[in-house]
């Protein structure tokens, strides 16, 4: 592995990380930064957030997110999968909308309560 300087994206603090060739991470404020540093140079992942069409709700869209990070290279593939489905109100926060998004093992969940509105 090449040495890399990264900005940690785990939280808004944005620590400046240094990852050496043995995957030792420095500059992190918390252990999650160390984990991020290792992950980012070996297999970068991201949480994806988007919307899904919903019927009979106050708004035509229900916000969703992946319930964990998915491989960065699969973000656009995930969008395609997300854009295929549609929901019917009522939907509750945390309801699983897609199981195992793009084979990542991570579920896509609703992030807003969408009660039925006539």
């Amino acid at each position: 592995m090449e040495e890399r300087d990264l900005i940690c994206i785990v939280c808004p603090r944005g620590c400046h990380l240094h990852v050496d060739k043995d995957l030792n991470v420095t500059g992190n404020f918390c252990p999650r930064g160390a984990a991020y540093g290792k992950q980012e140079v070996t297999n970068p992942t991201r949480v994806i957030t988007s919307t899904v069409r919903i019927e009979n709700a106050l708004l035509p869209l229900c916000p969703v997110r992946s319930n964990g990070a998915i491989p960065k290279g699969k973000l656009f593939e995930a969008m395609k999968e997300i854009d295929k489905i549609s929901l019917k109100a009522p939907v509750k926060i945390g309801d699983v909308v897609i199981h195992d998004l793009v084979g990542s093992g991570v579920d896509l969940i609703a992030t807003r309560d969408m009660p039925v509105v006539k």
């Binding site: 808004p12 400046h16 991201r46 994806i48 919307t51 708004l59 035509p60 926060i93």
Partner: protein, 419 residues
């Protein structure tokens, strides 16, 4: 006229947290007035994640974070009205609001908490040169249209300003199929959080042009192209540095301004943040008028908004309960060298062990001391290896350092001398 102890203007994160804070302090006669058809405010359109790390030790999306506070308010049965707009607040604390359902309602309040959030600086406010076609939108407008209504504002997009919403929209629009050609930032540094630079721009190879601004917009009906230029140290475009981009949309993320008109209208003094000048109890210069959240000063993290607003709610409750006197003696706080603004503007010692100071520096700096000077004497120096304007600083200073609680306190940035 109705009488309600505490009226809270705004049912977003600040208003909800303030309500919870007041309720838990023992004031239960509350009304939250919200203009949207739902509680939660702007968080509802911020569908990205990253909210709640401090507050909930979890990484939530905006709607989820809002939902936690909506549920906290609902568990306490705190009353609220939706689709209701406050028309006027008087010095005597009469709040008038209007809605289709109730017509016009007047309420005599004992205390008022202003929690109306902020609005986005517009193209007109900075007078972007050139034509004024359709297709110049604020990041918030594009966000609402996309995330709640399901419409894309354009196919080829340029973004002016590196504020967080702009960066987040760069990613969002890219994921939904638009081509984002770049982001121009007039300052020599980014105005967004570092993590957003990485996961919104770098991840998608969107270039960031620092020290650049949009020097001309072209298009008779819809935006056809834009020209950006490098700027000199006085932020004026430099001739010969022009670059043009064929885009149909220009999105602006050029700053947020506290939406404090209702209180400005009655002459409550404002501070450098353009919100009310408040003391360490979030009380303004008018007794019983409190302010918190983005209407007081623009925050970058909602976690800080709710923490602040809960405090404001608590102090408003104490005021209603007759336990918060305006003291004669207090310290006036001012922003010294290198500091944009400081909240609070006044400190009245109340027995608290520490006093929180929130501020932003004017420009990114390294190896500096944040220096607190009370009546000419330095009472505290805090070393910061790195400090940037896009991140609000919160420092808790031991109250014992504040002496008798009188005079002038200046917060300033002092460069550490090199050895």
């Amino acid at each position: 006229m109705k009488e309600i102890s505490l009226v809270i203007i705004g049912g977003g994160s600040a208003g909800l947290a303030a309500a919870v804070g007041a309720y838990d302090e023992g004031v239960k006669d509350i009304l939250i007035i919200e203009r949207s058809p739902y509680l939660g405010g702007i968080l509802n359109q911020c569908i990205h994640n990253g909210f709640g790390l401090t507050e909930f030790k979890e990484e939530l999306s905006g709607p989820e974070f809002a939902d936690r506070f909506i549920k906290q308010a609902q568990e306490r049965n705190i009353p609220y009205v939706l689709e209701s707009t406050v028309l006027e607040v008087t010095k005597d604390k009469v709040v008038t609001y209007t809605s289709a359902k109730e017509g016009v309602v007047k309420i005599q309040a004992k205390a008022i908490i202003m929690a109306a959030g902020c609005y986005e600086r517009s193209a007109g406010a900075i007078g972007i040169p050139g034509d004024r076609p359709a297709g110049v939108l604020t990041a918030g407008q594009a966000q609402l249209l996309l995330n709640q209504y399901g419409y894309m504002v354009g196919k080829r997009v340029f973004i002016l300003g590196s504020g967080d919403i702009g960066l987040i929209m760069a990613r969002r629009l890219t994921l939904e199929g638009a081509k984002v050609l770049g982001v121009a930032e007039i300052m020599p540094y980014s105005n967004g959080l570092n993590r957003n630079m990485v996961q919104c721009l770098e991840d998608y190879n969107i270039p960031l042009y620092l020290s650049h601004t949009v020097s001309r917009v072209y298009g008779k009906e819809r935006v056809e192209k834009i020209e950006i230029s490098k700027v000199d140290e006085r932020m004026r475009p430099i001739k010969g540095t022009e670059m043009t981009f064929d885009v149909d949309t220009l999105i602006l993320s050029i700053g947020l301004i506290p939406n404090n008109t209702l209180l400005n209208n009655i002459g409550i003094p404002t501070g450098r943040s353009r919100g009310c000048a408040v003391d360490n109890h979030y009380e303004s210069e008018f007794e019983g008028f409190f302010a918190c959240g983005n209407v007081l000063h623009v925050h970058d993290l909602v976690d800080n908004v709710v923490a602040e607003s809960r405090e404001a709610g608590k102090y408003a409750a104490r005021y209603i309960q007759g336990q918060l006197e305006k003291k004669q003696d207090r310290i006036h706080v001012s922003a010294g060298d290198g500091i944009g603004y400081v909240v609070p503007e006044y400190v009245a010692l109340d027995g608290s062990k520490t006093t929180a100071f929130k501020f932003r520096v004017r420009k990114p700096s390294k190896n500096v001391y944040i220096t607190y000077t009370l009546n000419g004497n330095v009472i505290k120096k805090v070393f910061k290896p790195v400090i940037i304007p896009s991140e609000m600083e919160i420092m808790n200073i031991p109250s014992e350092l504040l002496g008798e609680g009188k005079g002038e306190l200046s917060v300033s940035l002092v460069q550490k001398e090199e050895n």
